[in-house]
């Protein structure tokens, strides 16, 4: 089972949520475990973390105590320029492609750029296994959507161009915003401009919302991939059918159900994210209180308490909304 899978050092970057610089070890292990399971790693978080910490350009290190793990990333304008370059071009790039661009934009020498630009450390950049290119962590992978779309509509083969069209108009995904990585996914087979899907033995559980990165590469148990001949055969036997099927797609039916379902799911997910964010802030505040206490800054603590009070009210409101959304 091959899916776009983050490398270990990229996986640990996803563990940190935006704005987080350090986390308690147990929290990291907990989150890391979820990612490891979701991506089909057969490692426990303890071993994985130890491995990552030993890496030469590890994105994390042990903090001032063993119980704290922090990011090693130090901001530098080169990182920001590289980030902008990838964001603006919206294409994954190899390191060798990024360096010349940064040299063009700055006065830094080739040596300086290669020495300073340790993308391994910056949490905004990630890599997939078996792919030397750098991606932005914020990019979403559309593979599950494409797979679901093709299966729902009984498409075995489609040209890349019409796929982009269908996705944009029927599912509401623009391949300009999300990335489609068929090469890293053994559910897909590319032949020139046409894309084929390879059926798996059992149904994949329908992802509640493919936008969640955790679920993107989430497959079920290991399925032995079909032998190559079998795939070609399967593709060949169904290819005459797909044309007629493609024409007879009942647009309204799947568009409507898919959209309302995914909107509600998305809203509920966003609410949960907001709750998670507030929870995070709560933990942060505990750390801030200690530092204000050390500075004897009662006023700052008072302000923090007001913020906490306000956040608690928001949490309460969000919880109510969430129950409402879930009941619908």
């Amino acid at each position: 089972m091959k899916r776009p899978t983050y490398t270990l050092s990229s996986l640990i970057k996803k563990v940190f949520r935006p704005g987080e610089r350090s986390l308690p070890r147990h929290e990291i292990k907990e989150r890391l475990q979820q990612f490891l399971t979701a991506y089909g790693y057969e490692l426990d978080s303890e071993t994985a973390l130890a491995k990552i910490l030993q890496m030469k350009q590890s994105p994390v290190r042990v903090g001032h105590t063993e119980a704290i793990i922090e990011l090693t990333y130090q901001p530098h304008q080169l990182f920001d320029l590289a980030y902008r370059f990838l964001r603006d071009t919206h294409t994954p790039k190899k390191f060798e492609q990024i360096v010349p661009e940064l040299r063009r934009q700055t006065q830094f020498s080739w040596n300086q750029v290669t020495r300073l630009l340790e993308l391994e450390r910056d949490p905004r950049f990630v890599q997939y296994q078996g792919d030397p290119r750098w991606f932005l962590a914020e990019w979403k992978v559309a593979n599950d959507h494409v797979y679901d779309f093709m299966r729902t509509n009984g498409l075995r083969q489609i040209s890349l161009r019409s796929l982009a069209y269908f996705l944009e108009h029927e599912v509401g995904i623009s391949l300009r915003e999300e990335l489609f990585l068929p090469e890293a996914d053994d559910r897909f087979q590319l032949e020139g401009e046409s894309l084929m899907i390879v059926e798996e033995a059992a149904d994949t559980p329908p992802a509640m919302d493919g936008h969640d990165s955790l679920q993107q590469a989430h497959g079920p148990e290991e399925h032995p991939p079909m032998p190559l001949e079998g795939r070609a055969e399967a593709a060949a036997t169904v290819s005459p059918e797909w044309k007629t099927k493609q024409e007879s797609i009942e647009e309204e039916i799947f568009v409507n159900t898919l959209e309302t379902k995914s909107t509600a799911a998305e809203v509920s997910q966003l609410l949960r994210q907001a709750l998670g964010r507030l929870e995070e802030r709560n933990q942060q505040m505990a750390a801030e209180v200690v530092s204000f206490f050390q500075q004897s800054n009662l006023q700052a603590i008072e302000e923090l308490m007001q913020e906490k009070h306000k956040n608690e009210q928001i949490v309460q409101g969000l919880r109510q909304l969430l129950t409402m959304t879930d009941e619908q």
């Binding site: 505990a286 004897s296 603590i301």
Partner: protein
């Protein structure tokens, strides 16, 4: 400082002072944990008391440390239980 054992242990006076300083530092650490709890429970007044207490302890530690630094190096010129001076 175990009063039952010995009321005056002059030869250990600096060791005892170091212990006292260490105990105060531990107290500061537990206070930090307390403050986090108090913050969670919205007890601003109690936090304010802790801050005053902390400032008092910090001053005390500072003075004790100064004292130790001033006299520990001159131990042999002072009163000592063991070496009886003539």
């Amino acid at each position: 400082m175990n009063r039952d054992q010995n009321l005056i242990r002059l030869e250990q006076r600096f060791a005892i002072l170091h212990e006292i300083i260490e105990a105060y530092r531990l107290r500061l650490q537990t206070m930090e944990a307390e403050v986090v709890e108090l913050f969670a429970a919205n007890h601003l007044a109690a936090i304010s008391e802790r801050i005053q207490e902390k400032q008092r302890i910090v001053r005390l530690i500072h003075k004790l440390e100064q004292f130790v630094a001033r006299w520990e190096t001159m131990e042999h010129s002072g009163i000592d239980h063991e070496t009886k001076r003539t």
